[in-house]
Amino acid sequence: MSVNGKPKFAMYWAASCGGCEIAVLNIHEKILDVDANFEVVFWPVAMDAKYKDVEAMPDEAITLTLFNGGIRNTENEAMAHLMRRKSKILVAFGSCACAGCIPGLANLSTREQIFEAVYEGVSTDNPTGIRPDFQWAAPEGNLHIPEFYPVLKTLDQVVAVDYYMPGCPPESHQIGAVVDLVIQALQGKATLPPTGSVIGAGTSTVCDECPRIRNVKTIQHFTRIQQLAAIDPNLCLLEQGIPCNGPATRSGCGALCPRAGAQCIGCYGSSDGTLDFGARLMTAFASVIEGKEPAEIERVLDTLPDPVGQFYRFSLAHSMLRAAPVVLEEEEQYATHHH
């Protein structure tokens, strides 16, 4: 297959926005190292290649596949299985593949609710209420479009994943470092970390990388950052009442957002040893919220109008609850119906 003897590289996007692809291109001149050391065989956003080209490859023909995006429909899942089969190293690349990210928040809503929002929402002009048919018998033959699953799944919920590379998107310097590592490993100059490792990120939390000063002050109410007239440039954002997710979020970005005066929103997912991002964050917030009376505490919590969005913004699909029970029920029915 290989015309030049170089190891093969692929990148695929499932339910994602495309920001991960941009982040890869954003490694600047290191992209030349990728080209020098790899043959890019499949990368829909950057080159023309067909699924059947990948299907025709021998199993494990691709050395490194960066897979970004969650598993939202039948096509995503089929591609996850295909890329798994054809790849030696499959990396869950970016927050969507690792933990569900923003698309994972749809796990709070049923398919009907999602379709209603998409096809009949205020911003949609669809007077006859047309909805897509997943299958349709056209005169020329049966037409199919990918079927929309009730639940968004992370990559490791459908196939085994070798490495996780978190971030929305992963930081370019981290991508560069991982590319270097893989190239060195291929040349026998380095060994790859154990399967299942998180790569291209730290092990601690964003707070550990954040230069802001913490005073263990208590919070009487939370404020959206855009509603503050001024932000103290040196003080911990959480202590200024801005709901910052730094205490639960994996380090590796260099505390980019807090340094710039914006709260961490948690895109790098859980730090090492944490099973549930939201649970960790609730524990952290409990330490700084003021109040010993339930009513007092409830008043503070009233200023966090979207608790799931706050505590699980990037991690709902990989959390312990994973989705609303009503959505999980739908998934069960779907699975029974289709198997």
């Binding site: 798994r84 459908v158 291929l186 939201g278 917030f285 409990a286």
Partner: protein, 158 residues
């Protein structure tokens, strides 16, 4: 719900108060239903919300959290953190469409064996009325490894 449903409730107790209250209920032969499985922590402040979520997703229908009365924490203030976590968890569960009554916070001193037994009895009936929590871990957080070859320098070139 149906007559055969027996709720499973995980109860987290504090070493210094509610665990002793349960013990007292036992020695005093105060009866409470066997639906609850008690786990002793050193303090209710040790209760990570992860424990509650793990219980619910592993088959429990409800979770009882117990600790020392406000102002009486053995570690001074940790039960206030429990209270805050509990109130946050309730909001998260509500937004997820899960009945917040499936978790309950009760303060019980070491002397309140009768009170704890009553709270347990009440909660079992409340959860029985709610019905089973269709709790599931239908997917492991990480699926079992499928055997596939680790890359080496030699294998790297096709």
């Amino acid at each position: 719900m149906n007559d055969t449903f027996e709720p499973v409730i995980i109860g987290f107790t504090c070493n210094w108060c509610s665990y002793r209250a349960a013990d007292l209920a036992g020695t005093a032969r105060v009866k409470y239903p066997p639906n609850i499985r008690l786990i002793r922590l050193m303090c209710s402040g040790r209760l990570d919300p992860t424990f509650v979520l793990k219980a619910l997703t592993s088959g429990a229908d409800g979770v009882l959290i117990t600790g020392c009365h406000p102002g009486e924490c053995h570690y001074l203030e940790q039960n206030y953190k429990t209270l805050r976590r509990y109130l946050m968890l309730r909001r998260v569960l509500t937004q997820m469409g899960i009945e917040p009554e499936r978790i309950k916070l009760v303060w019980a001193s070491a002397a309140e064996g009768v009170k704890l037994a009553q709270e347990i009895t009440d909660m079992v009936e409340q959860i029985r009325a709610l019905g089973p929590f269709k709790s599931r871990y239908p997917l492991p957080l990480n699926p079992p490894e499928v055997a596939h070859v680790q890359p080496t320098a030699e294998r790297g070139t096709a």
